[in-house]
């Protein structure tokens, strides 16, 4: 783990789980696998605190445990998974676009709680949706269940590995740690539940409520004595599936901007057809025949078969090679080259960054090197049509920032510098890694700055919260306009200005974090695809 990753994980843990969890999480990320005793002694925290923090981390899939042969249990942090906290808003928004508000809340609840049973999720989401509905209306559990089932069917949520059933012989001591297992085929199986009910509106104490109803409500909300029917069956968000969705989105929009809307729709159709047949780490999708694609096009698109064939040929001939032709049967067999597509996206990101950081002439040299692979100093000047002095300057600037590297090719076995070729080249995976590291650092900087801004204005923020709370309570009890005005004026005009500025800055920093995470996603997906066997 690089220092930048550790720092970012630390900030994310602290912001979302507090200092105690942060201390233990960071410690585990730094040191690797450790047993409980060592964690307690190294962090200097109380045993009780460490236990609670580990429970929280395990619940949220940020730490896993392993039972060693000697009976010792060791804990390991999942650094990559901690970094995903940055992407939670994107997951939730994707669920909203695909499955509406219900889907959005299901995913949000699962992310907030790490793991939950289906019955609890359905109940909570129904209650939350009921809150937002008009008076008198409530959300039916069945609707929420349906959305949940759809999320499971499309693999956006999955079951967690199960704890073993109670041992046959209670006399035998239980193992120090349960071994959780899950069968591949069970991962998306929804338990047969008959969840009947409607969401409940949470009423404030001011509203009329007879004591009887209150008592009944409390009894229903409290824990029932019998375990729910799906006890022990927990669900979690399947972030890999979301990543697959984002990747598909990226490819489709790239095709749309490079070619046109219709081509992008064709590619989208191909990707949709491959969702279940192709694993997310495959280099290319299963071959699809032109006939199949024609049949699966969305209803709105009534393009002729020949037009479709023309589009497919165009896509296959495009130098970016998003789509490849793998055969001629069935009207032509086509695949989407996933690895190549990811590589193109990552390269485009690199080019864009060089352009924005160094200028368009540097970008020209960069693109030249990408195309020609290896070039000597002199060749760069000639091909790019840039004067020698400037070309030299630009190359060294890019070299010093590791966007470009030097390849030595000796002419003689003694590697004498005067008899060696020095070729400039762009090593895309290596540059991508360097840039990814920079992204982590950027997000950490953004978070630190945002926390600093909030800290600096803490007194003012607290005052503004107090005033808002007073206003809210006064409005509820029906105060006059003049009184409200008086309370509002407790915050002076310059203070209001300061608050406005603070809000604008915090929003900007937050939005920047979201945007950098998009780049992180592209680069990480590309690097992951290079690590897998071709």
């Amino acid at each position: 783990m690089t220092q930048a990753e550790i720092k970012l994980c630390s900030l994310l843990l602290q912001e979302h789980f507090g200092e105690i969890v942060e201390k233990i999480g960071t410690h585990l990320i730094r040191t690797g696998v450790q047993p409980l005793r060592t964690i307690v002694s190294d962090t200097g925290l109380l045993l009780d605190q460490v236990k609670k923090a580990l429970c929280v981390l395990i619940q949220h899939n940020l730490v896993t445990y392993q039972l060693q042969k000697r009976g010792c249990v060791e804990y390991e942090a999942q650094c990559q998974r901690v970094l995903r906290i940055l992407r939670y808003p994107r997951y939730i928004y994707a669920a909203k676009t695909l499955y509406g508000d219900t889907g959005e809340l299901v995913v949000e609840e699962l992310l907030l709680n790490g793991k939950m049973t289906m019955s609890v999720v359905v109940r909570k989401v129904a209650d939350r949706l009921t809150e937002t509905m008009e008076d008198g209306k409530t959300m039916d559990y069945a609707d929420v269940s349906n959305t949940f089932v759809r999320l499971a069917d499309t693999h956006f949520v999955q079951r967690c590995p199960r704890a073993p059933e109670a041992p046959e012989s209670p006399a035998a001591p239980p193992p120090p740690a349960p071994t959780l297992v899950i069968d591949e085929k069970d991962m998306y199986v929804v338990p047969r539940l008959s969840l009947v009910g409607r969401g409940k509106r949470r009423r404030s104490c001011d509203e009329e409520e007879s004591g009887e109803r209150k008592a009944k409500k409390q009894k229903q909300d409290g824990e029932s004595s019998e375990p729910p029917p799906d006890d022990g069956i927990y669900w979690q968000v399947n972030i890999d599936r979301f990543h697959q969705h984002f990747r598909d989105q990226g490819i489709v929009s790239a095709v749309a901007s490079r070619m046109d809307q219709t081509s992008s729709e064709i590619v989208r159709t191909m990707l949709r057809m491959s969702e279940v047949t192709t694993s997310s780490s495959a280099p290319y999708t299963q071959p699809l025949s032109s006939n199949e694609i024609f049949r699966s096009l969305p209803a709105g698109y009534n393009i002729g078969k020949q037009v479709l064939d023309q589009y497919l040929t165009l896509l296959a001939d495009d130098p970016l090679e998003f789509v490849g032709k793998s055969g001629d049967s069935g009207g032509g067999m086509y695949t989407v080259n996933l690895h190549k597509a990811l590589a193109s996206l990552a390269t485009a990101t690199l080019e864009s960054i060089v352009e924005e950081r160094f200028g368009s002439r540097c970008a020209r040299i960069f693109r030249l090197l990408l195309r020609k692979k290896h070039l000597e100093q002199k060749q760069v000047e000639d091909f790019a049509m840039i004067p020698a002095k400037e070309a030299k300057d630009m190359l060294y600037k890019m070299l010093s920032e590791n966007f470009v590297s030097l390849q030595e090719i000796p002419k003689t076995p003694d590697h004498a510098p005067s008899r060696t070729f020095y070729l400039y080249t762009v090593n895309v995976p290596s540059s991508a890694r360097m840039l990814l590291h920079r992204c982590y650092k950027s997000v950490a900087n953004l978070m630190e700055r945002r926390q600093y801004e909030t800290r600096e204005n803490k007194r003012l923020l607290e005052k503004s919260q107090r005033v808002e709370a007073i206003l809210a309570s006064m409005q509820a009890t029906g105060a006059e306009e003049a009184q409200l005005q008086e309370i509002e004026e407790m915050i002076t005009a310059p203070e209001r200005q300061q608050l406005e500025t603070l809000k604008r800055n915090v929003n900007k920093l937050d939005a920047s974090e979201n945007q950098v995470d998009e780049t992180i996603f592209v680069l990480e997906s590309f690097i992951a695809s290079t690590l897998r066997k071709p």
Binding site: F17, K378, N514
Partner: protein, 212 residues
């Protein structure tokens, strides 16, 4: 050759990396680059749109919500010394009860160990304590109505004295009532000071209520 004699020469052809012979070489960097270098190219403005706005709101909401979840373990601050007035307006949203994990899914060592007390004794004391509590409460009710408290308080004194030796930590309630019973050994009518609500209600008919 060339070491120390005449000018220092490079071991390779300087033209290979683009410097012409005899041209001034750029300065050597003596210190690390500045932490906030001035940028000639300013960054591109952020993306804006419906999607981005919604995700921004989601992010900020998520941050706020997670701070209130039971999973957020904050370091306890020692601010409880003075109860702030503003507290009334702030932390009223700790609705989420403490969270209990599913122990079946966790290693055995995660479960907090209950404080071990001396075996069956606590159970015995507890049941007799509650019994004595109930007795005390019943007795007090009776005392409010009747006036012969002295007799009953003596009975209770005996009972509670026995148990006083046994329970040190648990149930401070019998001791509290103990004090009250002790105080009752005087000429004051117990009903007078028993309940704040009843103050003046059970007083003698002779007394006029003071009106101002």
């Amino acid at each position: 050759s060339g070491r120390g004699r005449g000018r220092a020469a490079f071991t390779f052809n300087i033209e290979a990396i683009g410097f012409s012979k005899g041209a001034a070489l750029p300065d050597v960097a003596c210190k690390p680059p500045p932490p906030f270098p001035s940028t000639d190219n300013k960054p591109v403005p952020l993306k804006t749109g419906e999607d981005e706005d919604y995700m921004l709101a989601l992010k900020q909401d998520l941050r706020g919500t997670m701070k209130k979840m039971p999973y957020f373990l904050a370091v306890e601050e020692d601010r409880e010394a003075i109860e702030r007035y503003s507290k009334k307006y702030q932390d009223s949203e700790k609705e989420h009860a403490a969270w209990t994990p599913d122990w079946r899914r966790l290693p055995g060592e995660m479960k907090p160990k209950k404080k071990t007390k001396k075996g069956p004794k606590p159970k015995k004391i507890r049941s007799s304590d509650t019994k004595s509590n109930l007795d005390v409460l019943k007795k007090i009710e009776e005392l409010e109505k009747k006036d012969d408290e002295e007799q009953k308080s003596e009975d209770e004194k005996d009972k509670t004295k026995d148990k006083e030796g046994e329970d040190d930590e648990e149930a401070e309630e019998p001791e509290e009532y103990d004090e009250e019973e002790h105080e009752e050994e005087n000429d004051y009518i117990s009903s007078y000071f028993e309940d704040g609500d009843d103050f003046g209600a059970g007083s003698d008919d002779n007394m006029d209520e003071a009106t101002y």
